[in-house]
Symmetry: C2
Subunit: 121 residues, 2 copies
DNA sequence: TTATTAGTTAACGTTTACGTAAAGTAATTC
DNA sequence: GAATTACTTTACGTAAACGTTAACTAATAA
């Protein structure tokens, strides 16, 4: 229990299913040790899972996330790959900025409608 | 040509496939007139398509977008439904805010790595 | 008249990210 | 020793959003 977790502990901690975690393993995103047949996750594995979930929240596919994780694992002097990730993140940020504009446009449309409603009362 | 569009014109204008536009029709999101068997889109249809794409950018499913479009079509005095949409948009905005935090966390991680790299040189 | 262009319907295929049994094992509890 | 708990693998199922032939039609250009 000293910094080690079962699959269900992690599932509960991150509010995802154990199935999901196994799926990430299937896809090569995480590779916990085994004790017998059971998966045992270290703190480091936990951090990795956190990175996976952050990637998901950012809208990246598991395949993309895997690439980034592999990159993190490799020798961190691979500047080129870090630039690639920076680009991806920057792309994503541009998308988010567009989404923010979309949100504001939508809210503005809704305000118009509400104004019209109130005008009728 | 006076405010009327073919399916391919719209596809090109919005940079999506004609197949996609037909698919939206299949799902009941848009219903252009026909001239013979061919679809003809009015300016209003065009606006509708724009709303669809905005919804998509916001991460809503076509089913959800359909609900909102139906709502726009109905008598706009249905306050309850507008509140529902406002809620959905607000939820989405919260997600976006989380994503912004994720982006910043990621950028900050990357900065750390870059700093380490530079320190080694 | 014969291509070519632009559109049509129908229907099966594809990808992603899991959900959901089914059937089994290993360790603990009563 | 029987039941419960916590896992395991295998494998088929699912939903969303189109992509991709295939086979056809109608209008226009050469």
């Amino acid at each position: 229990m000293d910094g080690l977790f079962s699959i269900n502990e992690l599932a509960e901690a991150f509010d995802i299913s154990a199935r999901a975690i196994r799926f990430y393993e299937d896809k090569g995103l995480i590779a916990p040790e085994r004790v017998g047949s059971r998966r045992v996750y270290t703190k480091r594995d936990r951090g990795r899972l956190q990175l996976i979930l952050r990637g998901k929240r950012l809208g990246f596919s598991l395949a993309e996330i895997r690439e980034y994780l592999d990159m993190y694992d490799q020798d961190p002097t691979q500047q080129a790959q870090i630039r690639l990730l920076l680009e991806k993140v920057s792309e994503r940020r541009m998308q988010l900025e567009q989404q923010m504009i979309d949100i504001q446009d939508t809210l503005s449309d809704l305000e118009d409608i509400e104004t019209q409603i109130k005008a009728r009362l």
